[in-house]
Symmetry: C2
């Protein structure tokens, strides 16, 4: 089977998802029907479905077919929020407070975020777990891509679900750069902790279905009785 | 296709890899031949190959077929050693010194490592990058599973390649629990750094092809000009 042939099917499916023709949760045509529609072999259509699944754009369910990936609060938390307690269970934090403001993008933000936005929304969120301060998080998104985000009232715990439901932006992958750093003054004050204690800092780029950078996020965790979990 | 049917093919392939019948790098029979041999449909054999690939037990190469996963220094470093520099390039450390000693297993090690070993090899390694101290690493493996590991002379930079080549133990996955902690006294002394500065601590369990825990590893990094990279 040709390398390029499967890409025509792959790209067409992505285009239909982006246009809204294939909404989240929709069952895709099977490989036989896809092959017919695009005039390629069943094997080529299968290859396209496998690659779509590898990129998390569709999810295959044993014996049932392929479905457009749907972000739920549960899978969003489980996949993109990697803190686990000592028993390996997900740490589900409480949102203590948040602020959202619109401001000019920095040069770096403008160069990194999709669409080179002039303005961004800057979201600060402070979370706790079992009544203990847990994390301080800063998210920066394009004001063009998420119009009105600052006037929606309180944002949900899982931002990516809102991104999909209100803006049809589906975050399907992310890259976290993790370091250990002294806790900076501002988060230390908000979290009521000592400046300079070791903190886990995650700098994230989140990508949507078109591999566009749609969010920059810096999360600062104090990893007491918990850890950031990686499976490789 | 039945859920259980593909598992018979899956398990048989794993068994053949473990027994040495299918050595690393070997090309597997294609889905048609596998199906014939196990008297299942081509679709069922394909499902087995897809699941074997998902678990990293085989690697599929476009248009060429499926091959038993082969650990090389390059893919081992790239997959299991996640430090990247500011440009996202892998940090390839130098081994400055190492010690290997045989000792009694602690209760926790005995309960976690495959085979409940009475004795373990305890490997300490200190690495540098660009002449700067980088990491202090402690690996603990079963003395039963890796006989003679302490009398091999200097160990290679990438331990997992040695595990495969000398002991037929193929590490295919790992779980890292990451925290930020004050640098402890012993690694601080070896790395000639100040005790208490923020350090990234990775506690790893490494799994082989049979999902056995074959190594416990604690790596302590001082993440200056670099980070631990996670893609999700």
């Amino acid at each position: 089977m040709s390398d390029k042939l499967y890409l025509t099917v792959f790209d067409a499916v992505v285009q239909r998802i982006v246009s809204g023709e294939y909404p989240p949760g929709l069952q895709l045509p099977n490989e036989f029907k896809l092959g017919q529609e695009f005039n390629v072999s069943q094997g080529t259509a299968r290859k396209a479905l496998i690659e779509l699944e590898k990129k998390n754009i569709v999810q295959r369910r044993q014996g049932r077919g392929s479905f457009v990936t749907l972000q739920t609060p549960e899978n969003s938390l489980f996949k993109f929020f990697r803190l686990r307690d000592e028993n390996g269970n997900p740490v589900t934090p409480n949102l203590v407070n948040q602020t959202v403001l619109k401001r000019r993008a920095t040069d770096k933000e403008q160069n990194t975020l999709y669409g080179k936005p002039k303005y961004v929304f800057d979201i600060n969120r402070f979370r706790s777990f079992k009544n203990q301060p847990l994390s301080f998080e800063n998210c920066v998104v394009s004001a063009d891509l998420f119009p009105g985000l600052d006037s929606r009232g309180p944002l949900p715990n899982t931002l990516y679900v809102l991104f999909q439901q209100a803006y049809s932006i589906v975050v399907i992958s992310a890259k976290d750069d993790i370091t250990a750093e002294p806790l900076a003054k501002k988060p230390a004050e908000i979290m009521e902790m000592a400046t300079g204690i070791p903190a886990l800092v995650c700098r994230r780029k989140a990508f949507d279905i078109l591999e566009r950078v749609v969010e920059l996020r810096t999360s600062i965790f104090v990893t007491k009785d918990m850890h950031y979990s990686v499976e490789m």
